[in-house]
Symmetry: C2
Subunit: 109 residues, 2 copies
DNA sequence: GCGCTATTTCCATGGATATCGAAACAGCTA
DNA sequence: TAGCTGTTTCGATATCCATGGAAATAGCGC
């Protein structure tokens, strides 16, 4: 997990509609949901939804698989897990001794 | 932690410069760093840095305290902890049974 | 191939963000 | 008060982002 990937994923879910969308897919479970179903539940125009979905897919947080004419959207759990792990490990250590314990030596300075 | 706060915080760190900035403050520990020191380390113009810092302070991820003429910036650990907790709990449960545990009845089917 | 449903791309528009120089402001010291 | 250092606000510009209607594409069944 590099910092660039992290920021892109963070920005992807840093939007009300997209976070709701992602939550919906997470709760739908491994079976996922077709785009049309998501559209019906969130009440969004197709083009807008497609735009947001693309963003999530693009950053690896969501996967899409064809199933007939429908496109099934599924939350990619490991991706979010990796992001949470990154935040907790790299950024969220609640003590400065993390520098000597888990954090790599400061490269920037 | 409501979804609106979550998205705002996510968007705040969903930016390369701001995530680097936040990491820097986390690694600096509870003692924090003055703005000038951060500016020197990241090599940013003061106005740009101030803009980003304001964003982080505004969302509660960073705190600022006067110390003479310097302004000490400190990472607010509980804020990030809350965000990580929210992501892990609300969004990152790898099973649909989260619906029966915490989810509202949006289970239209 | 034709028609049907599901989904995306195209295009335009309005709004938010990022950037940074210049000037203003805050607090200390003499 | 004058002057110094540290930090923010002002102002302007370029860029990215969000939104959604209309047209195009993808796959299925006949």
């Amino acid at each position: 997990m590099d910092i660039e990937t992290a920021t892109r994923q963070l920005r992807a879910i840093g939007h009300d509609t997209r976070l709701q969308l992602y939550r919906l897919l997470v709760r739908a479970g491994p079976g996922g949901l077709p785009v049309g179903e998501v559209q019906a539940r969130l009440g969004l125009p197709g083009s807008t939804l497609s735009h947001h979905l693309r963003r999530l897919v693009d950053t690896g947080l969501v996967r899409q698989d064809r199933h007939g004419t429908s496109l099934i959207c599924t939350a990619v759990y490991p991706a979010m897990q990796g992001l949470v792990d990154y935040l907790a490990g790299e950024c969220c250590a609640d003590a400065p001794d993390a520098e000597t314990a888990t954090a790599p030596p400061e490269r920037a300075g």
